[in-house]
Amino acid sequence: MYSEKVMDHFMNPRNVGEIEDADGVGEVGNAKCGDIMKIYLKIRDNRIVDVKFKTFGCGAAIASSSMATELIKGKTIEEALELTNKAVAEALDGLPPIKMHCSVLAEQAIKAAIEDYRRRQQEKQVNS
């Protein structure tokens, strides 16, 4: 039911972990539904220089997190915001229809992390 790419990213997920001094953190989903995705960003000069994730969820959720982090690594914030769930699913050679929401979560987690980064930047400006 899963493509080889999904299985590869599930068994050998890229970018698992946390970033201690992250510039932006986004968490979406909830335990009740069986999916939580948390994404950590390190940003320098408007560019994502490092990204890590932690995910509670099914194989597709873990693979989507892994692929999504790969896709935004090294990208500018604007480029990362353009990442769609469809692009994540396509990069994984497709997801079963019932699992498409996992790619949606990945997109949302990235957006949430970037939003968190921007909020922190604004706070810094206000404080300085």
């Binding site: 299985m7 068994m11 201690e20 001094d21 995910t55 509670f56 969820g57």
Partner: protein
């Protein structure tokens, strides 16, 4: 080559060689229609009769009380709808439980739409139904009580004899979905006051696509499948001859080796359970510690999700199942795990390992060897585990 370990016997079993050997001639050599008058038909009829006798003997009932079906689901549908439609003048109330198989639950929900009233009894944290609660739920409109013999997910064995006695005293029909029980634990239909019982061959090393409904003599129920005069005018359709032959052989074998098999599986099961509980933290056993099917082990691992657990085990050659939403095809985790009081997030992390004839002590060793590492890997990826450890939060 990688080790392959099948621990999903509650889903289905392989067909035993002895069973297959008895079935094979009925595809090509003895292929008559059991309803035909000629010699070809009579040979086929003889085989069906023998299978019926073997099934009846296994349950301690008469052969005329056994009706072959396409499986457990049809038997459940027939028992419940058949009794409901035939007895609707007497009443419209059915009592069942919240942990039944969907073949029973969805049938009851259909009947609710048709104007019947259904009480879904709660269960305790082990998944046990209390006979007193059955008694209290009875009204003067109750026509049927349906309680499963043993639960397919968590393996809990219900107090069937006590419930049967209550039903008998009140003159209410008692049906039990015994799909997981027959061939695995003692089932004495007479002694347990059972009026209707569903069973399925592929759960006890018979073929798929065949089952039976026991109907006690005198029970009023409508046919479910209309057509020809097969099964004494109660279940139409040309008999699944090889399947029925296979069911007969499989049930005979299962019941004759029941005690020995049950002992062996119980010992392996208990070693698996204690091994898992001792080697992994934040895990719980679902179901009753002793009133459970010999081959059933069901765990919930905190902080991880069942499907990713199944995929990881599968990569190691181990076949298991889970009650997580991702494996149920819906958004909610298993209704059974919710009914025993598990919170959603714990229910999502469930793992069912069901042992069978082909499993060995080495299989248990292998599972105990690889499972802790799999759980550890998934937990290290899980934000819930990080929270639990009280690690730093960077939000």
């Amino acid at each position: 080559m990688q080790r392959r370990v099948y621990m999903d016997h509650a889903a289905t079993t392989y067909t035993k060689q002895e069973v297959l050997d008895e079935m094979l001639p009925y595809f090509k050599e003895i292929y008559g229609n059991p309803s035909s008058v000629h010699g070809f038909g009579r040979e086929a009829r003889k085989a069906v009769d023998l299978a019926r006798e073997r099934t009846a003997a296994a349950l301690n009932v008469s052969p005329e009380e056994i009706y072959f079906t396409s499986g457990g689901t049809e038997a459940d549908n027939w028992a419940i709808k058949g009794v409901a439609w035939a007895n609707k003048e007497r009443g419209n109330h059915i009592i069942t439980t919240s942990i039944e198989h969907h073949a029973v639950l969805h049938t009851c929900q259909y009947l609710e739409k048709m104007g019947f009233e259904v009480t879904y009894l709660p269960v305790d944290s082990y998944g046990l139904v209390y006979p007193e609660q059955v008694k209290e739920a009875i009204t003067d409109k109750t026509i049927l009580i349906s309680v499963m013999f043993a639960n397919n997910e968590i393996g809990t064995i219900e107090p069937i004899k006590e419930i049967g006695q209550i039903a008998r005293e009140r003159g209410i029909y008692f049906h039990t979905d015994a799909v997981q029980a027959v061939g695995h634990i003692p089932v004495d239909v007479k002694d347990m006051n059972i009026d209707l019982l569903s069973l399925s061959a592929h759960k006890f090393y018979g073929p798929k696509g065949v089952g039976a409904l026991y109907i006690r003599k005198g029970v009023k129920l409508h046919p479910f499948i209309h057509g020809g005069a097969q099964e004494r005018n109660r279940r139409a359709g040309t008999e699944n001859l090889p399947g029925i032959v296979g069911l007969g052989k499989a049930i005979e074998l299962a019941v004759s080796n029941l005690e020995e098999n049950s002992k062996r599986l119980t010992a392996m099961r208990d070693r698996l359970i204690s091994g898992v509980l001792n080697s992994i933290e934040n895990v719980r056993l679902n179901g009753h510690p002793t009133k459970r099917l010999p081959g059933n082990a069901n765990f919930s691992f905190e902080f991880i999700e069942g499907e990713s657990l199944l995929l990881s085990l599968d990569m190691k050659g181990i076949a298991a199942s889970s009650g997580s939403a991702c494996t149920s095809g819906s958004l909610d985790p298993s209704h059974v795990l919710l009914a025993i009081g598990l919170p959603h997030e714990i229910a999502h992390g469930s793992l069912r390992l069901t042992l069978g004839d082909d499993n060995t002590d080495e299989d248990i060793d292998y599972v105990l060897e690889v499972l802790p590492g799999i759980v550890k890997r998934l937990r290290e990826m899980s934000p819930l585990f990080a929270q639990h450890k009280g690690g730093k939060h960077y939000v």
